[in-house]
Symmetry: C2
Subunit: 203 residues, 2 copies
DNA sequence: GTCTATATTAGGATAGAC
DNA sequence: GTCTATCCTAATATAGAC
């Protein structure tokens, strides 16, 4: 049975997420959030005492999605390259489902890194295990040697950057052709996987 | 002879650039810009009638740096891979000199893509020639085939993303060790060049 | 819980003296 | 050109009725 009438708090959270993602903390207006939620500003403040509190509440939820615990895939005992491909697939699936995440996260992290750090700590996100797994694969000679952080950042950059830069890409690289840009993004999964695999292959 | 007393307009521009880069258009305050320039708000408005006009003036200068005409390197008649390496070097040199560019550009482009588009058009930045050069190299079998946009975006992502994400990287990947993060960034040039060359090599 | 009305403050912009 | 003082609107936040 569908909950036709979602409660007010949910409506606020949905509206706030939408507006904060579009405008960022500084650009967002409480009025706009209230409008999008179909309520008024006073009620907004009744549920969340201040804009900052509301933003923090939303941010926590967003970060959970934006910093997925990909380590689950990496710790399985499959072949390393297989796991890597699975991780890239999983990460891009998230990005396609939430294409505005990268721009939002990069925007807000430069505004105030500490908010992120606090939440990341609370989530117990720790990449050391992943780095260790990568180093082990290198030691076994399965992939070429480099500082594991470089490999991780390379992969994340390849995945994330195009989403953050989509407006420029659409204009500069595809003459504002949205269809062509969509097609480009559809191809990213295969492109990135091949690009990465080729670059780490031991010759 | 040194111009000890730089004129007011310069002071304003320097201050505005600094504040806009740190806070973005939405987060910046005219008061803060005035303070940093050592003048008052009224004088700010005397030189630039509005915040938006001031921002546009700064943005134009920033974009000139952020979107360099790398095509100059690419059109020379050197070997394609040589040119590619030169282009990556040149681009990273710019980023090291202006490490806050990526975060700023990605932030503002998501706020209002049109401002960028206007300025890019005015600068006559057109990547078609670069795409053509890449495709020719592919046709000659010098590098592996793919849509040239993918190669360009991959390279830019590898270069730009770490700068935009530096606060997260420093915390998550290096336990807030600034020295280790600096070292990581120093290594990027060599890492990216090798990463890209390996991935486009024809086997 | 939800609303209308209002307080309060912040921030962009202008007037006018010098 | 530069300042002080002030205006004006937008935006966050609260009071109080229902």
């Amino acid at each position: 049975m569908i909950d036709k009438k979602e409660n007010t708090e949910e409506k606020i959270i949905d509206a706030a997420r939408s507006v904060f993602i579009k405008k960022g903390m500084d650009g967002a207006r409480m009025q706009e959030i209230a409008d999008e939620a179909g309520i008024n500003k006073a009620l907004l403040h009744y549920y969340f005492r201040s804009k900052e509190k509301l933003f923090d509440a939303i941010l926590g939820k967003i970060i959970k999605v934006a910093f997925p615990k990909i380590s689950g895939i990496m710790v399985s005992d499959a072949d390393f390259k297989t796991k890597l491909v699975q991780a890239i697939d999983a990460y891009l699936d998230i990005l396609f489902k939430h294409p505005y995440l990268p721009a939002f996260v990069l925007k807000e992290v430069s505004r105030d890194p500490n908010v992120f750090i606090k939440i990341i700590v609370k989530r117990g996100l720790n990449p050391k295990l992943v780095f260790k797994i990568i180093e082990d694969a290198m030691d076994r000679g399965e992939i070429v040697k480099m500082k594991p952080q470089h490999l991780v950042i390379n992969i994340i950059g390849l995945c994330v950057f195009p989403f953050a830069a989509r407006p420029i890409i659409e204009f500069v690289a595809f003459d504002e052709d949205k269809k062509a840009t969509d097609q480009f993004f559809k191809e990213r999964k295969a492109v990135i996987k091949e690009f990465v695999l080729r670059s780490i292959e031991v010759k």
